[in-house]
Structure formats: C-alpha cells, structure tokens
C-alpha cells in the first residue's frame, strides 16, 4: 500500500499505537447476578453503564432456562438540559425507543410504545422541579425475545417501564414513586403507590381475560410487586455499596 493519507496529519513514521493495560474485571466479582426465581423469571440489573448519560440502567430479563427467551434493554436518561423555545414551568419529557439489532417492531408500534411510556412517566417524574428544561430517555433494545413473526411486545414494554425507573433513580431525577410494571398473559399494567394506583394499562391482544379488567390488574400486581422488590433491593444495595 503506497497510498499516503494526505487528508490527515499522520504523525512521525516510527509512531506506535497506544496500548492500554487491561482493566481488572473487578466489577463482575463485586456484583453477583441477582437471581430471583419465581415462575422461572429472573432479572439482572446494573446501573450506570453509560458513562456520558446522567443515569442509565441495564436490564436482563430471563424467562425460563433457555437464553432464547431473554430481553436485554439499556435505558439512559439525559438531562435535565435547557430547552429552547417558549417558556415552560415544567420539564418536557421525550422517550425514544430503538432496537439496536434486527428491527422487528413496526415503527408505528414503536411510536405507540413511546407515547405510552412518556404518558406513564409524565405522571411519575416531578416535572415541576425542572423548569425550562427537557429530559430525554433513550431505550435501546439489545436483545428481543421475539422469535416468531407475531410481535409479543408485552414483556418489552414491562422491561421498558422497569428500566426507565432504574435509570431515573440512577440519574437522581425526582420521581414520585418506584414505578414498575407487571405482565399477565397479554396485558401490561404499570403501578404506583404500592399497587393501589394504575399509571399505565396496555392490553393489545384479545385473550380469555375478556372483560374482567380487575382480575387482570390483580394478576399483574403480583408480578409488579416482585419486580418492584427487585428494583428497590438493587437500588438500596448499590447505594450502600457506594459508600
């Protein structure tokens, strides 16, 4: 190769590339995966992986033993940062969802999910504390449990709710409650105030739970309490580990 790159300053010809020392993998040892086996569902949480975000969370949800049925979601929170335009006494919230591997979810449905999530978190974030600013939430779905053609969005939506809550808590943005979501069949319900209030309900597919919405909510609550417990345990433990 005799072509010299004349667009860049190449430096001296005897330059050597920088070599960094390998980092000790101390993190892995310090943080054993958090396993909770109930209905064969387990959750692994790690906060603060995205270094330039104000807060972030990495969430791995496994259903059953096989690694196929695994949802991996990375949520990051940026801001509050100044927003331009008209004066607003509250922060504005934006949620962006992206599949980083193969895009299987139609873009219209992604928009619906984003609308649904920003609706939930408008109710949850203490937006009055952040005048004239915007809070941006970015969700990256790293692994999708969808194997067949039929989109099964429910576990993903539940993971998004849990992931955003963790990321917001990591960012230190004021939230009224540790909101979490529970799924039951094809329903997702996001709760606050220890399950007495519903902040989001998503029922997209007809199933045999027909019109008994209360029993659906009741069934989701069990799953919610379990998820919420995991989130709170993680938050408290990681806080104590920091000190």
């Amino acid at each position: 190769m005799n072509i010299t790159d004349r667009r860049r300053i190449l430096g001296p010809s005897n330059a050597k590339p920088l070599v960094f020392e390998r980092l000790e993998s101390s993190e892995q040892a310090a943080q054993p995966p958090q396993e909770k086996n109930n209905e064969n569902e387990s959750m692994y949480i790690k906060n603060g992986l995205v270094s330039n975000a104000n807060g972030s969370s990495y969430l791995e949800l496994k259903r059953g033993e096989s690694s196929e049925q695994c949802t991996i979601l990375l949520s990051s929170v940026y801001g509050p940062r100044p927003s331009r335009g008209a004066f607003s006494s509250k922060a504005s919230l934006s949620v962006q969802f992206k599949e980083v591997t193969i895009e299987k979810i139609p873009s219209g449905e992604l928009k619906e999910i984003c609308n649904f999530l920003s609706n939930i978190f408008s109710a949850v974030i203490n937006l009055e504390r952040y005048p004239k600013s915007g809070i941006d939430i970015f969700l990256s779905l790293i692994k999708n449990p969808i194997t067949s053609d039929e989109a099964n969005l429910e576990p993903i939506i539940a993971a998004c709710v849990n992931g955003i809550t963790l990321a917001l808590a990591d960012a230190g943005i004021e939230i009224f409650d540790t909101v979490s979501a529970g799924t039951y069949k094809r329903n997702v319900v996001a709760f606050s105030k220890n399950g007495t209030e519903v902040v989001g309900l998503w029922k997209d597919k007809e199933d045999d739970t027909a019109n008994d919405i209360l029993s659906v909510i009741e069934n989701c609550r069990g799953n919610y309490l379990q998820n919420r417990k995991g989130i709170i345990e993680y938050l408290i433990r990681s806080k104590n580990a920091d000190i």
């Binding site: 270094s51 104000n54 509050p80 927003s83 004066f87 915007g134 808590a169 230190g172 938050l235 000190i243």
Partner: protein
C-alpha cells in the same frame, strides 16, 4: 413516635417518610411538628381507609435527613385569638417546630457542595457562575456554567449522544469535555442576561455595559427570575457579585485582579481595565 428523632435510614423513590403534621406529647406539654418537603422529597396524597392523608415521600435514592428550621414563634396573642374556643392552658404550651425533610445522596455528603445531584437547575435567588458571551449597550448575554454550591450532573446537563434520534437541541455528551468546553462549543447551557439596570445598585441609569463586562469574563451573579423561554434574568447588583475572573485585552493578555470595585489590573503590564468586580472576600 417522633419521626425527626429516628436514626437516618435509606430511602428509595416513593418511600413514605412521615406525615406533614405530627403532635408530640410530652409529660405536661405538647407541640405540633410540621415537616416541610426539602430536596428529594415531595408531598403526596394517600388514601387510607377512605381518608385522604398528605404525607412526605422520597423521590430519590438516598439518606433521610431532618433539619430543624429555627423560626420565631407565633406570637401567642394571635394564637389565642384564633383558638379562642380552646383551653387557655393548651395554647400557652403549644408551640410549632418546623423540620425540613430531605433525602440526599451519600456520595455528595460531606463534600464541600451541598447535595443536589442533577437537581441543580438555577432557581430564583441562586448564585450562579456565568460566562459573558456577548455584550450590547442594554445588556450582557451570558451562559450559566454552574450553580454555586451545587454539583453538575454527569452529562453536565448538556445533552445526549445516545444511539437514538437526538432530540431537538440535543448534541454530544459532556463527560468527555470539560464543562466550559462543552458548553461553549455546543451552545447547550442555560443562558441568561444581565440588563444594564441590574449591573449595580447605584447610578443604574449611568451604567455602561462596556465598562462592566467583556466577553469571556466569568461573572458571579444572582438569578432574579426564570425569565422567558431562552434567558434567565440575572443581576450583579450586590457587592459580592460581579466579575470574578477576567483576562486583559479582551482575553489576549493575562489574568487580571480587582483593585477596587470598578477596576481590574493586569499585574504583568500594569494596565487597568474597567469592570464591575465582585468583592473577593
């Protein structure tokens, strides 16, 4: 049970801390204790057995802290008037204590700055450090770099470089830059303006902005209002407010030092320049 006397404990968002009011009963006296929501705490409505209760709940992860706010007592005459139907004895022994309840992150505790992670947006009354970006005869435009005694969030509040669609006004992350670089390069700081009337407290109508600030100066100023959509309104009309750092010859020369409230001198050359200086100590 007295809430403020409890030892500190960890809290997570949504955890109930205490009610808004509490009645502390001593042996022969009783007092009302009022809890006020501070940083990281919000008042929330709860319903218990059909009854509405207002309680304080944490909104961030951290340690619960109770700080007593020392206030002058309510004049007893007023109390007696409003509680005429109550017994005289109760009124005389009743006093109100105020506690500010806050939840703070241990990571910031004990450091020089008060803990208000990410919740550092400039508010009315806050002292901020700002850099002058542009001057005109009527005002100086500044960008707010930091709120004094507050930490800046990891991304410096300057935006995002996430994988997703970058929101309008979003840009690159701040962690790789220093705060000052990121802010000026990307124009993503909160902006403010110092009107010529707010430069100093006396002779307001004779203020010349050009003799008070120059672009590039670092100014200590107070937020007087949230302003409009784009600018905070700031003021330097106090002795301890004004230019704190400035370089001579519009930034070409060396650092200058204040010799009085309206003059700065460059020690290397001896030249003086006019500024509205902050009293250093």
């Amino acid at each position: 049970m007295v809430y403020y006397a409890q030892s500190t404990h960890s809290a997570y968002p949504g955890q109930l801390i205490c009610p808004v009011y509490e009645l502390e009963k001593g042996t022969d006296s009783q007092q009302v204790i009022r809890y006020i929501a501070g940083a990281g705490v919000a008042e929330q409505d709860y319903e218990l057995n059909g009854q509405k209760i207002i309680a304080l709940a944490a909104t961030v992860v951290g340690e619960v802290k109770f700080d007593e706010e020392l206030k002058e007592m309510v004049p007893s005459g007023e109390v007696a008037e409003s509680n005429e139907n109550e017994e005289e004895e109760t009124v005389s022994t009743e006093e109100e204590r105020h506690f500010i309840v806050s939840v703070t992150d241990k990571r910031q505790d004990g450091q020089a700055v008060t803990a208000d992670f990410a919740n550092n947006l400039p508010r009315e009354g806050d002292i901020v450090l700002a850099r002058v970006t542009r001057i005109s005869q009527q005002r100086a435009n500044v960008e707010i770099l930091a709120v004094e005694n507050k930490t800046t969030p990891v991304d410096s509040g300057v935006g995002s470089n996430g994988a997703g669609i970058v929101a309008a006004g979003g840009g690159s992350g701040g962690a790789t830059f220093s705060v000052s670089q990121a802010s000026s390069d990307l124009g993503e700081t909160f902006r403010g303006l110092i009107s010529s009337r707010d430069v100093r407290a006396t002779d307001r109508d004779k203020v010349k902005i050009i003799d008070s600030f120059r672009p590039g100066d670092i100014v200590r100023a107070q937020v007087i209002s949230l302003g409009d959509g784009s600018n905070y309104h700031l003021s330097t009309a106090r002795n301890d407010l004004g230019v704190v750092f400035a370089k001579a010859c519009n930034g070409a020369g060396g650092m200058m030092y204040a010799i009085d409230w309206k003059t700065m001198v460059a020690p290397s050359t001896g030249f003086t320049e006019a500024r509205k200086c902050a009293k250093p100590f």
